[in-house]
Symmetry: D2
Subunit: 354 residues, 4 copies
């Protein structure tokens, strides 16, 4: 598989290009008898939809999903679920100017090098529109996780120098930044708008909190819960790093600080971030990842074309000055998918024959 | 596969417990006609061997590898290569005391929860001895990478608060920390020894530099080069975070800073860390990961036993106060394996039918 | 993956139910730069379309395929190719009567047992309409095989007691049986029509001939060319057996008969059917498979319903009295997919680093 | 993976060459808490051991297995189980004469073509000694199947023209042919010995009977129980065909004969051979496969050497005039492995969230 499939048991394969006919996903391996409606999926998709606010791209896509298979009388049947969104507001003309250019920070150069050609319209397959399929599948994963009482919440904790000072997860959907601190949200928004006005973009940090992870989930050695999560999250466009629990701060800690003590009532701290030996300890799973400033900016930068000529390049089009708010549902989706996949793996291997 | 296999084309499966008979690996998918000797493998193993220096565990294992299959007349044959090291200095008695204890920071609790039992001797399968198989396979991967001129170098860049101030990769094997700055090495060593004397352990950061990565390696979407590397590195025991290029610093950058400009002579910066859209750009691949302070310490900490009773627990035995120097060859091994795997994937998919 | 995906490098995942919205396939891993038009796919689909002749079901489906991704300016891009056919002539009413029945010879009982529910309309996922996705992907595989000069031809060699007496592959598309002997075709047709008139169905044998197989294709041990072909062909509904070269006749042969002698000009016989040790010898790949008489008949048979009550059951609806003619393109598709998959595997593993 | 791995959940990877140091297997994914002793494995190995009788090769290998990992205090731990047999009676000298020859019916030519080299000693990796690893893993699978009450029995039903006239599975281990009819055994043995005396070999048919298959096992579409079994069995050296239930006889049947009727007390016939739509119906799983006459004979046949020169070739060494009796335990092993693998798959996907 050429990298468009993720998951071993709960398996998604995404398809589609930014300016092709459609983008979507096949989900194979979903357990049967899970109640699922189009609205369940649409609700999640609306959260990543463009044009939601002044900090996201004005590209106007309604992103209406349809489910083409795998559902019967409102329930999953255990057969592949295909979900798709037609591309509408494509405006391919916008992109003709970049046909022969390798835009700095974009995948133009590597796609062209690898495949000998590329669909240059709006990033083609490398467009973040690919993540629509992920969000659709994630919506199904969330329904499955309802059964184990597992809840996933992602939120922005830093934009530029502005950090959230608290973790108020109730307010996340109440602010356009999707941060967990309404005071910080104001500063973050101002910071993003200021960058946008100069044609620039900004970076951010997103935290993911998973409550109710079944103990023991994750396979030892290579398919650790944290390793699979890292794989999943690092596969989201623009993500450049990930850390669990105390993360990079652990460099300054000692074993006597970092080891999470256990009592009969539970753990006394969560430096590990929810895993021990790669398996879920039953604590909250907590990790953070950094999103680079979006590559699409209108400030001219040095690049080359396919003939090797140097060019000053700006990225025309409609872009997000900060992608983090729209990455939030994508991160939740990928985390959900990993969790269901590993719950199923665990069921197959560890618990069955007890 | 229950998580003990990694790689799709160049595929390793490790086996063995800390205090079982042996630890090793099967490598399937190695191209034929690669010259390979036992010494090639032993050289890498010696770098991760315990007992190398005063900052590593005194457990005395010679870790002599044998190759049981897949080699004929000094060359790989294209069939599975099985490499194994017998465990010698096992001292299982050391571990009887922990038979019913869940040591803080260890995988005891999660293994027991998942499997209903565990080989409690020295961590069993969760022991870092499992990484011996990885280093063996990595030695083969390095031989394969000689053919593409790809060179992988890992080194410690921070121990506690002490950072390497330069990147002198020539000196890495000349100091027991395996850092790239001999001045920093002195301070790092003192810092580790001081912690060791109190029965404690310390954290560190390791950087990996890959030169000569073939352009286009890595599959778009889920099997990006950086996502696969993240998966591989996060699967190493004690690793808690990873970042590429500018990494978490990107939160403070703008697109106009972060985008790496291109000229006809190459890139002008490397904030991306060597990938664009998940595929190798031909720049150096650069990433860093953090290693938590080792969980095995002799400072008493609160834990519980399998009956739920609270206990003050210290981890007897012989342990590393800082695992980073011995993680260096493991990180190189995993990086090599990912690269060969993706080179083979690329060959299968992108270039063949051109 | 819950069994809806096939192939490791050239990977297909099919989706869709008989009476759902649509059926289709995602193909991941197709090499880039392969010329591909909708017509290339439609031509193959037309060969499996219902309603072609008096020996196939009168269900009238135009089965018009659309390609939703992975093609740009008439060429494959190396990204996933999604192809889909909308279901039109569904007539779900026909199936209401069987809602609670387990029809003899059908998958009703096993689906219900496995999933706790089933889409009872026309077999749902177990319908042969699922093979539409396979044929679409096979059409792409055939285009790829043009590059290696590999040609796949399937044809009916026996219907009931009537055997083809020659192998005239030029006439296959000239007769509705898709046999390789026009004289036999007459008898086969009469035999089928006679069964149809009594509401019954008949069995058949199909042979597949592959010319121009690259030497060495197929992986030793488990992923032998013949084992992968057997897997692929046995996954086609109604297939109950497969044999290669001399096949079951080998029971009566001796080694001195069966061993295919080699001269400098090539092999003197082909009892092996084109493989040695599981890898292509460069001879024609030749195999045969048997297709059981279709389960859907209007002759009443004993069955039970989901409550355990015994019922006399006939299968209403429009069905094929002999499915072999329509299985022919499906067998070609599956064979093509296996071959491309193994050519890619071979390229990745065996030849690259020579 | 280059074809040396089989199974998705209960996953085996075999390694080793005929005349290398050892042959063996890693089994990953075995459920924990399964009681397993070395004797359990040795008992199965002894059934495939050479030198058992006058109808098998006189190569004298004791084939003593050792278990190197994955077992603790007599039980599986859920970690990889490595089992290995050292090669002893290698006699590599026997094979020097064939160093540059491509023996008819052997894999010499295809290995050389694929890899550019081969371990020519006794077939190297293509030797049937590779199946030792399979039998070891199969012994573990059988232990797992004890829990579901599933019993697998293979036996020879035909050697040359001599067919078993009954199915007396109690006598299989009482005759050196491993057939299910002691009268037929006499004729089969005479037939084999007669061929052996002329330096020739003979073909055979083996039947496999599985009782107590859990209903619903097998994934629809590509990973059908019968398709996976076909893959597994066709991967055994010398197997040239497989059929389920009525098999190739179905060509002569009508739907009204072939459909297995159901009553409240069960099925009235078993033409399907135990599956419906690729999933286990709960009936006995019954299939047959043909084993070609062994390629190693001492009757001279035409072949070529690696330089293209024509040679009269005989295969020196110690060989089986009929491999079927020793294939019996291999077939049971592969069948066991497929069943456990699919039971685990089913558990992961279908039943968990009910």
């Amino acid at each position: 598989m050429a990298g468009n499939t993720f998951g071993k048991n709960f398996t998604i394969t995404t398809f589609g290009e930014s300016h092709g006919k459609a983008v979507g996903v096949i989900l194979d391996g979903c357990p049967p008898m899970v109640e699922l409606s189009v609205e369940d999926v649409q609700t999640e998709l609306n959260r990543r939809r463009p044009g939601q606010s002044k900090v996201s791209t004005p590209r106007d896509e309604s992103d209406k999903v349809e489910i083409y298979s795998g559902i019967f009388e409102g329930k999953t049947t255990g057969t592949p679920i295909m979900m798709m969104v037609f591309n509408k507001n494509q405006m391919s003309r916008d992109y003709d100017a970049v046909k022969s250019l390798f835009r700095p920070g974009h995948a133009d150069f590597t796609y062209y090098s690898k495949y000998g050609m590329r669909d240059h319209r709006g990033g083609g397959r490398s467009s973040a529109r690919e993540t629509i399929g992920r969000v659709c599948a994630g919506a199904v994963a969330k329904k499955v996780l309802d059964r184990t009482g597992t809840k996933i919440t992602a939120y922005v904790t830093q934009v530029g120098p502005h950090k959230a000072q608290k973790r108020d997860i109730e307010v996340i959907e109440d602010n356009i930044i999707r941060t967990c601190d309404l005071d910080a949200a104001v500063k973050m928004e101002e910071y993003i708008i200021a960058a946008k006005e100069t044609g620039d973009s900004v970076g951010a940090i997103v935290e993911v909190l998973v409550q109710g992870v079944p103990v023991g989930i994750g396979e030892p050695v290579f398919d650790r819960l944290n390793a699979k999560i890292a794989h999943a999250i690092m596969s989201i466009p623009a993500v450049k790093g990930i850390e669990f629990g105390s993360g990079f701060e652990a460099v300054l800690m000692r074993g006597s600080d970092h080891n999470d003590e256990m009592t009969k009532y539970g753990f006394l701290s969560n430096n590990a971030g929810g895993t021990l030996g790669g398996m879920a300890s039953g604590q909250d799973l907590v990790f953070r990842f950094v999103v680079k400033p979006a590559s699409s900016i209108t400030i001219p930068k040095k690049g080359i074309d396919i003939y090797g000529n140097e060019k000053e390049i700006i990225t025309e089009g409609r872009h997000d000055p900060c992608v983090a708010p729209r990455v939030v549902p994508v991160a939740e989706a990928m985390t959900s998918i990993v969790l269901v996949d590993l719950i199923m793996e665990d069921k197959a291997i560890a618990h069955y024959f007890k």
